[in-house]
Symmetry: C2
Subunit: 295 residues, 2 copies
Amino acid sequence: MKAIRIFGSIPGIYEGTTFRNRIEVSLSKVHSPLQAGISGSQKEGADSIVVSGGYEDDEDYGDVIIYTGHGGRNIDSGKQVTDQELVRGNLALALNCQNGLPVRVIRGAHDKSIFAPEEGYRYDGLFRVEEYWKEKGKHGFYVWRFKLRKIDYSINPRGQEFHEEAEEYVKAKRVETRIQRIIRETSLSNKVKVLYDFKCQVCDTSILTNIGAYVEAAHIKPLGAPHDGPDTLDNLICLCPNHHVMFDFGGFSILQDFNLIGIEGKLKVNANHKIKREFLQYHFNHFYDEKNRIP
Amino acid sequence: MKAIRIFGSIPGIYEGTTFRNRIEVSLSKVHSPLQAGISGSQKEGADSIVVSGGYEDDEDYGDVIIYTGHGGRNIDSGKQVTDQELVRGNLALALNCQNGLPVRVIRGAHDKSIFAPEEGYRYDGLFRVEEYWKEKGKHGFYVWRFKLRKIDYSINPRGQEFHEEAEEYVKAKRVETRIQRIIRETSLSNKVKVLYDFKCQVCDTSILTNIGAYVEAAHIKPLGAPHDGPDTLDNLICLCPNHHVMFDFGGFSILQDFNLIGIEGKLKVNANHKIKREFLQYHFNHFYDEKNRIP
């Protein structure tokens, strides 16, 4: 009989619960697999992960964790020997990001992290997968990285919903979560929209709502850590929601001559709009991943 | 000299600050106009509103306010005598919703509301315009309604950003806010996506990202108060992000025979997918507003 995969809290297992070993963790259902760091499926998403410092590239900041995906390591040495692909557990975590599913985080003892328990394992609550991207890891091979942010349901009403919904799931056998697509609105955003007359630079579309034209300003190199792209006109393009989703999730990227890769076409660029080429390169390096696209 | 319109907190004016009259309110800059309930522009959005129970249809629940737009009232009787239009202050508030701008709320004394001050006016902080729609008011004419939700920046990190950004605005003379487009992801959402093979029911588009096909499940009658649409398959359709934005913001609606109004075309409906006609009617009545669309 296939067990139901629970996204959200496990009833009766509170944040801070500690476990002596992976067998105890598994029996509690907070993270079922005995060895794998990511519990999930390529169709549903990841329900839990263990952060135990196994990867040299993980970074733990407490409420924010930069988690490295799996694959590409040599079995004996544990060292990265080939590029990671966006498959299996990595694909599962990426689905959490696209579909807004929460993931349970279990930290394992590790002397390099001040947030790790002193011994054994500890359930540390629900996290959201805010974004994912690839980058060259310490050994020179591409790894996939996932930025996780803690959902604090003790003070955040939105988090509370996750909690209640997870409880509800147990009764109704369904998952109920939310995606938040966060779009920054600045006077600069408005400037880039006006520059392109509220039309998408890829397809010329302007969405007509009941109050006029709608289009979105997209940052090429994302704002916020660890990318820290600037909020400047040379890092902004004007896209319809469809091409914005596609661009953010690496469905296409933009080459130095503004030709598109991943889809046909060329970015329309106004002569007064100086786009910094290094930001395009950054997007291409970190978000575009042709080989994992389903044609 | 044109004053800068500040979206966010006014430095030095803390939540809970009281004022004896509209002149004091105006001098504080928390709400500049002496008479108008909405301060804003049709291009920038609304920076502040006064909630004083002037409209018979306003509803104040504390952290949530259902605010009624202006226009259509008889000057002498104050009664609603024609339909309100999505122009002037109403359009400004709708822009806040689309662009994620915060609005300052000032409550005036009113004996019908337990959240109103006993006398004079009180600044009650920043609110987000979560959604807007039209409905028949108590006098049988259409009014525009705006659902405002308080941004609690004392405990909500996202709200904190609003606060900091507002401070920053004063220095950098720019506004920095966030939009949150909230999409619910449920197993039902997944069901409707699978039913349509991850293609938009309006345009057949499927967004290809680096992990596969992306499409969104849209509720016809929105979830949450005051609409309280159900989270059921007969209230869900499968749309690309472009048509989802357009549908949510009333750029088009769907007639009983599935023909579209506002744009050309017909909704593609699978024979196994029973869409409840009353939900379509609800969307048409509350969100579609052809006369305000810019062609």
